[in-house]
Amino acid sequence: MVVKIDSSLPNRVSMSVTTGRQSQGSTFGEKVSSGLQAAGSAIASGASLVGGVMPGAGVVSAAVSSVSSLTNMPGSSASAAGYSATGVVTLGGGATTGGSTVSTGGTATPNLTGGATTNQVGAMNTELASMTAENSKLLQVQIALQRENQTFTSVSNALKTKHDTVKNTIGNVH
């Protein structure tokens, strides 16, 4: 409240209008809390997306090729056969272990018909265990796929270098 005293005029009392208290904006804590909630929902939606995609990864393993297929390719050369048909090059074994056994979740259907809470929890546990096993197998497939890819690249590089070397050697014969 402000009281203004003017000597020329009779005393007046001036009062400023009371305004409503401005509320403070959202505090740091509140913002952190809302951010965490947003992140949590994003992770949850991401997990559901991954869950939908993961079972399909079994299909990827079907596309895994092994270097032994080099011998079956129409254009394969004898040198490639030398690298692949020896048994020294061991590829493809790891990739098929996971790929052939990963199920698409058919056995993991929860049994919710019982109605009892314990049954539901048990079914959920079974489903979770099944999903964990599937994820583990998919991880194995991914690792095997990566290893096979690396090996394939190395073999391909060695064969290409050998071919180029032979070509240059013949060209430079003297």
């Binding site: 004898a78 040198s79 060695a158 014969v173």
Partner: protein
């Protein structure tokens, strides 16, 4: 009448470079087609015509290698190495044969020598590719290296 000059050093009969290249390329083509006997016939002839060159010997070694006869291929590659002791390519091929025989330690020694002899050559590049192949685990893990 002057003797025609040969492009190939130490050849039994005068040979142009084109003739030598043709023989070797034809042999490699037979080899890639799986006609190993035809390839051998050409390469034995080429080796007789070019007794001082390591190239036909390397081709003969490769012929044995492609048939899975690694010990035999190693012998032939060693002959090539004797003809060109300062060349990295025969060394790299020896390393390759040893690697596929499972003698990893010996193979790695040969490949490192090949890298040191001519670091920028095709032989060194081939040796490096073989070392990377071994490191990837694709070869050399079957037997204890000699």
């Amino acid at each position: 009448m002057t003797e025609p000059k040969s492009d190939i050093a130490g050849s039994l009969v005068p040979m142009t470079k084109q003739q030598a290249v043709l023989m070797l390329e034809a042999a490699y083509l037979w080899m890639d087609l799986g006609k190993f006997e035809n390839a051998r016939e050409l390469l034995v002839g080429a080796a007789a015509l070019m007794p001082k060159s390591e190239v036909p010997q390397i081709a003969l070694g490769t012929l044995e290698f492609n048939q899975g006869r690694y010990d035999k291929s190693l012998q032939v590659f060693r002959r090539a190495q004797q003809l060109a002791p300062r060349s990295s390519l025969p060394r790299a091929h020896c390393g390759e044969a040893l690697l596929f025989m499972g003698k990893v330690n010996e193979a790695m020694k040969e490949l490192k020598v090949a890298l040191d002899l001519e670091p920028e050559s095709d032989g060194a590049r081939f040796a490096q590719a073989l070392i990377e192949l071994k490191e990837s685990g694709a070869v050399g893990a079957s037997k204890a290296g000699g």
